[in-house]
Each structure stands twice: as structure tokens, then as C-alpha cells.
């Protein structure tokens, strides 16, 4: 986009964004979701400030599976670590995995969906069959099979983007297995956008296919992508939790899912250690609920039909 566009329309987008935010925030659910999300993002950004460095088996001081007390607000785990400390530190990993996985899945899903919808014909048929496979195989199950394999193949040392490779593997696998849902939505939306007259107009005024996709179709997909993106985040958190729960997490970087899995393996459920199960579970629940709430609000804000009814 040329510079002049922005020069001549400095107000336009800003105004649109402002109006949109106002409308979004008039939604009670979105407010709750955003507050909750900001809270967890804050927690994820500065865990050390809040609860000190991550406790490990080496420096844990607490008692064995002690119930919540004034010293350990959320009790302790089976090696005596403070559960509050663990969930606070788990926020960063869980959120990073969820957000990055979502980005990957949105990117792949949007590209494939848009290309399939725009070009149609055999491109569409083949891409959508591929999407069908990923759609048909629940991403959780697919990730379940692929994760250990990828871990095995590329689980060598080193850092990728500051993460242990195993985490990176998990987020890539979640991203790569959950795009089909996005692709379907984007495709159907693209199909209907493609029929809109402004696409014809863009062609008549000489825009290329690429520019039509990027400048005309993509911006109109943003609401859909945003609204569904929120749902994808929720499901990414869910998949990460389930994978970790079945023992595919990284035991040294406790995500909420890993914590749940540790709790399960320690027998917390049958030993009645509800705090150990409850704390990470409530975190997972709150974050995915926030995203669902935001997604819902986005959907409502963008969907003109629903706005009609007061």
C-alpha cells in the first residue's frame, strides 16, 4: 500500500478502530474476557516479580501435598513446590504455546482457505480434501501421534526462540493440525466475497489476483478470522493441555497442562488434593473462557444481523 493512502486517510482507520472498540467494549462478556486476559498476560510477562523464580524439586521448600495455607496460598505439589508459583510460571508457556500455535494455524488456514476459495476448480478440490483430512482427524488425536514422532526426530538440544525444542514441537504440531477449521471458514467466506461486485470492479480496474486477495479479500476476512481466531486459541490451549495431560509435555517447563498431568500422575485425584488439580484447571478454564467470550463478542460486533435486535 502506498504511503499516500495513509497520508490522506489518517482519520479513517483510527476512527473505524475506535468505533469498533467502543462497540466491542459495550459487550459485557468482552470486557470480562479482556480484563481476565490482560491479567493473565501480566502474570505471564512478569512471573518472577509476582512469585519469585520458578520452584523446582531442587529448591522447593514446602511440605508434601500440603493443602492451601497462608504460606502456600494454593497449597503444594508432591515435591513440595508452591502450586501458586507453578501456575504463575505456567501462564507464560501455556499462553505462548496457545498464541503461537494459533498464529501458525491462522496463517496456514487463511492462506489455504483463501487460495482454495479464490481460485476454485481443482485447486479448491484438492486443497479442501487435504483440509478434510485434517478436519476429519481431530487435531488432538493427530497431534497425539505426530508429537512424539517429531519430538524424536528433532528433539535435539538447543533453543528455538528461547524455548525448549519440545515445546516448540508441540506448538508447531498444534498449529499444523488445527488449521482446517479456519481454512473452511475462510474458504466459504472467500467464496461469497468473490461474488461481491467490488471484486469484479477490482478486476476491471486492473488489479492482479494477488492484489485482489491481499487488498480486497483478506481485509474483509479479518472479522471472521479474528472471531474464529479466538476460538482457535481456546482450542489450542485445550489441545496443549490434553497433550501434556497424556504425558507429552516438557516436565521442566511446567505449562498448565503439564501441571495437570503431574497432578494426575501423582494421584492427586484419588488422594483428594483438589488444589493441585484445581489451580491449573481453573487457569486453563479462565483463559479459554476469555478467548471464547472475546470471540463471541467479536462475532456479535461484526455480524450485522445480530446487531439488529437490541
Amino acid at each position: 500500500m502506498s504511503e499516500s493512502t495513509t497520508r490522506y486517510s489518517p482519520l479513517g482507520p483510527a476512527r473505524a478502530v475506535k468505533g469498533f472498540l467502543q462497540q466491542l467494549l459495550s459487550h459485557g462478556g468482552a470486557k470480562v474476557g479482556l480484563v481476565c486476559l490482560v491479567f493473565f498476560l501480566g502474570v505471564a510477562v512478569m512471573p518472577n516479580v509476582l512469585v519469585g523464580p520458578l520452584q523446582t524439586a531442587v529448591n522447593a521448600t514446602g511440605d508434601f501435598l500440603a493443602p492451601p495455607s497462608s504460606q502456600h496460598l494454593l497449597g503444594t505439589d508432591e515435591v513440595g513446590r508452591d502450586v501458586l508459583n507453578l501456575v504463575v510460571h505456567g501462564a507464560r508457556i501455556s499462553l505462548t504455546i496457545a498464541l503461537l500455535a494459533t498464529l501458525i494455524s491462522l496463517f496456514v488456514g487463511t492462506s489455504i482457505g483463501m487460495i482454495a476459495g479464490y481460485y476454485g476448480g481443482s485447486v479448491d478440490v484438492w486443497l479442501m480434501r487435504l483440509a478434510d483430512f485434517f478436519f476429519v482427524m481431530p487435531s488432538f488425536v493427530l497431534a497425539l501421534v505426530i508429537t512424539p514422532v517429531v519430538l524424536e526426530v528433532m528433539g535435539r538440544g538447543g533453543d528455538i526462540l528461547g524455548f525448549r525444542p519440545s515445546l516448540f514441537v508441540i506448538l508447531v504440531v498444534i498449529g499444523m493440525t488445527s488449521w482446517a477449521f479456519v481454512a473452511r471458514i475462510v474458504r466459504s467466506q472467500t467464496l461469497s466475497l468473490k461474488e461481491r461486485t467490488f471484486i469484479d470492479r477490482a478486476r476491471v480496474v486492473g488489479s492482479s489476483n494477488f492484489s485482489i486477495m491481499v487488498r480486497h479479500i483478506l481485509p474483509n476476512l479479518v472479522p471472521q478470522i479474528a472471531a474464529n481466531g479466538a476460538l482457535v486459541v481456546a482450542s489450542a490451549i485445550y489441545v496443549e493441555t490434553s497433550l501434556s495431560f497424556l504425558g507429552l509435555g516438557d516436565p521442566l517447563q511446567p505449562s498448565w497442562g503439564t501441571l495437570l498431568s503431574l497432578a494426575q500422575r501423582a494421584g492427586a485425584a484419588s488422594a483428594g488434593a483438589w488444589w493441585y488439580l484445581g489451580a491449573p484447571g481453573v487457569c486453563v478454564l479462565s483463559v479459554s473462557l476469555s478467548f471464547v467470550l472475546i470471540g463471541n463478542a467479536l462475532d456479535d460486533t461484526f455480524n450485522p444481523r445480530r446487531r439488529v435486535i437490541p
Binding site: D132, F140, V141, L144, V145, V149, A269, R305
Partner: protein
């Protein structure tokens, strides 16, 4: 359009389902060939034993693994699959994968069917009502509750249910499908089975209810803004008549699709819940197979999942056609 349109519609859906199923089978085949680990060695008992080269070679020939992957092995695989022969399990040595799956399927089906049934009845009713009376107390409360349920991992709900109802109070059994031993009269054993079903079904159904409420509500609130609802009102229909004769069936369209799709995902969705409740179903089998690298079983499970989702997709399409004359 006429009857030809309908049969064409059904034909299209069938073709699509078959193509997807074929695709699932092929990708399935490829997926499990690219996984590292020599199946011949796995057949020889994994890492536990050191096998000689001849033994491995013999295994290869025995299982046709020495032949080219494409097309020979693929063709073999596909034709065997079509015949219902899913191969032998690595772990449960010598047992047919199909048998293993069939053995475990009933438990999963009972679990999933009961949970779905409850969720559909409760969720759709609540959701439709909330959408019809949008903005009412039930709508607001119900929506918040459904969002909450929708975002809660069902296995976590399961664990919490276990802590509360089994560990703390001991009211309901928290694992298995029936009490050990089995020399009880049949009525008792049904009751026993139902008691065992209670918690896992609750864990599964709660999340589903949330989902159904949300979708049914959204569908209904879309329908009430439609022009034909104004027509219905103009005709002087009572609210009840408008709801039952005009709104319900139209609002059911997206709901039916979701229900059919969900039925397909039911098995996959039950895996973690089965793990929590030690439910002797497909989920447990999947986890066991995964731990033992039992690729034939995993492949079979995948095929089952794929097929069930494809079939349910197809059902959704057909049901949609049945309910909505426009797509016929």
C-alpha cells in the same frame, strides 16, 4: 428443481464422502509409513530383543514390507481395508485390529451415546428458548454458563467430579464401566453399569451442553430476525405457533449439522475422559496403542475416527437436505 436434483445432491454427497474416506485412508497409510521405526523390528518385539538380519528380512517378506511402498503396499492396504482387514496388532500380538476395536467400541458408544442424548435434549431446548427470548434472564444466565462449560476441558471436569463424588463423598464410582466380579443378577448389573456411567457421562455431556446451547441460541436468534418470521407474525400466529411452526425447524438447520458433526467427533472427544475414568473403550485402546507404538491399532483407530466423521459429515449433509429443501 425436481427429483433429479435430489438424487444428484445425494450422489454428490456420497462421492464426496467416498473421496474423503479414500484420502483419509491414503494419508493414514502415508502417515504411518513416515513414522520412524522399522515395522519389521517392531513386529519382532520392539527394542527389547536384538533380532538378526535374517529374522528381520523374514518378517519383511512375511508382511509384504519388502515390496515397493507405492503402489503395491498402498494397494494391498486399501484392498485389505475395504475387506475389513485392518491387520494384526503389534502389541496384542496376533489379534486382529478389527477385533480389538470392535471389542472396545460398545463401551465407548454407550458412553458417548448417553452423553450426546442428554446434551442434545438439554442443550438444544435451553438454547432454543434462550435465543427465542433473547435478553431474558435465562438467556443471560444460560449463555454465561454455557460459555463456561464450553471452555472447560472435559477431562478436567472429570477429575474434579472424581475428587468430589468419588474420593470425598464416595457416592459414585469414579472408574471403570462396572464393578469387579459379575455374579450379580441382571437388573443389578444394569444399575451398577448406570452408576458407573454417571460421572463420565456428566463430564462429557457438560461441555456438549454448553456447545449446543450456544449454537441453538445463535441459530434461533438469527431466525427470529428473518422476514418470514414477520410474515408469520403478520398472519396473526401466536408466539407458540410462530416458535413451533416457523422458527424451530429453521433454527434446527445449523443445530442438526453440529449434532451430526459432533457424533463423528464423539469418539475422539472421549479419549481423555476415558483416560480419566479408566473407561474400557476406544480411548483407552488408543492410549495403550500409542504407548506401545502399536501402529496397526492406531491406524485402525484413525480409520475408525475418519470414517465416523466422514459418515457423520455425510449424515449432516443429508439431514440438512432433508430439513432444508433449498439445498436438495
Amino acid at each position: 428443481m425436481n427429483g433429479g436434483g435430489t438424487s444428484r445432491h445425494i450422489g454428490r454427497i456420497l462421492i464426496r464422502a467416498i473421496v474423503t474416506l479414500l484420502m483419509v485412508a491414503i494419508l493414514n497409510f502415508i502417515l504411518f509409513r513416515v513414522i520412524p521405526g522399522d515395522p519389521a523390528k517392531l513386529l519382532l518385539g520392539g527394542g527389547r530383543v536384538s533380532a538378526t538380519a535374517e529374522q528381520i528380512e523374514a518378517q519383511r517378506q512375511n508382511w509384504g514390507l519388502d515390496r515397493p511402498l507405492l503402489p503395491d503396499q498402498l494397494v494391498d492396504y486399501l484392498s485389505a481395508t475395504v475387506r475389513g482387514d485392518l491387520g494384526y496388532s503389534f502389541k496384542f500380538r496376533g489379534r486382529h485390529v478389527a477385533d480389538l476395536i470392535l471389542e472396545r467400541l460398545p463401551a465407548t458408544i454407550v458412553l458417548v451415546a448417553v452423553a450426546q442424548l442428554i446434551a442434545i435434549v438439554v442443550g438444544v431446548m435451553l438454547g432454543m428458548y434462550a435465543g427465542w427470548r433473547r435478553g431474558g434472564a435465562l438467556d443471560n444466565g444460560g449463555t454465561v454458563a454455557s460459555l463456561l462449560l464450553f471452555s472447560t476441558p472435559s477431562f478436567w471436569v472429570g477429575m474434579i467430579l472424581v475428587v468430589v463424588f468419588s474420593t470425598k463423598f464416595g457416592w459414585l464410582p469414579g472408574y471403570g464401566a462396572y464393578s469387579p466380579g459379575g455374579t450379580i443378577s441382571s437388573i443389578d448389573s444394569i444399575l451398577d453399569h448406570l452408576r458407573h456411567l454417571a460421572l463420565p457421562v456428566t463430564a462429557l455431556a457438560l461441555g456438549l451442553i454448553g456447545q449446543y446451547v450456544l449454537v441453538a441460541r445463535a441459530a434461533m436468534s438469527d431466525v427470529v430476525t428473518e422476514d418470514y418470521m414477520v410474515t408469520a407474525r403478520a398472519k396473526g400466529l401466536t408466539n407458540r405457533q410462530m416458535l413451533m411452526r416457523h422458527a424451530f425447524r429453521n433454527a434446527m438447520l445449523p443445530v442438526v449439522t453440529l449434532i451430526a458433526l459432533n457424533l463423528g467427533y464423539a469418539v475422539a472427544g472421549a479419549i481423555t475422559v476415558e483416560a480419566v475414568f479408566a473407561w474400557p473403550g476406544i480411548g483407552g485402546l488408543t492410549v495403550e496403542a500409542l504407548n506401545a507404538r502399536d501402529y496397526p491399532v492406531l491406524q485402525g483407530v484413525f480409520l475408525l475416527l475418519g470414517a465416523s466423521i466422514v459418515v457423520s459429515n455425510m449424515t449432516a449433509d443429508l439431514a440438512y437436505g432433508l430439513l432444508d429443501p433449498r439445498v436438495r
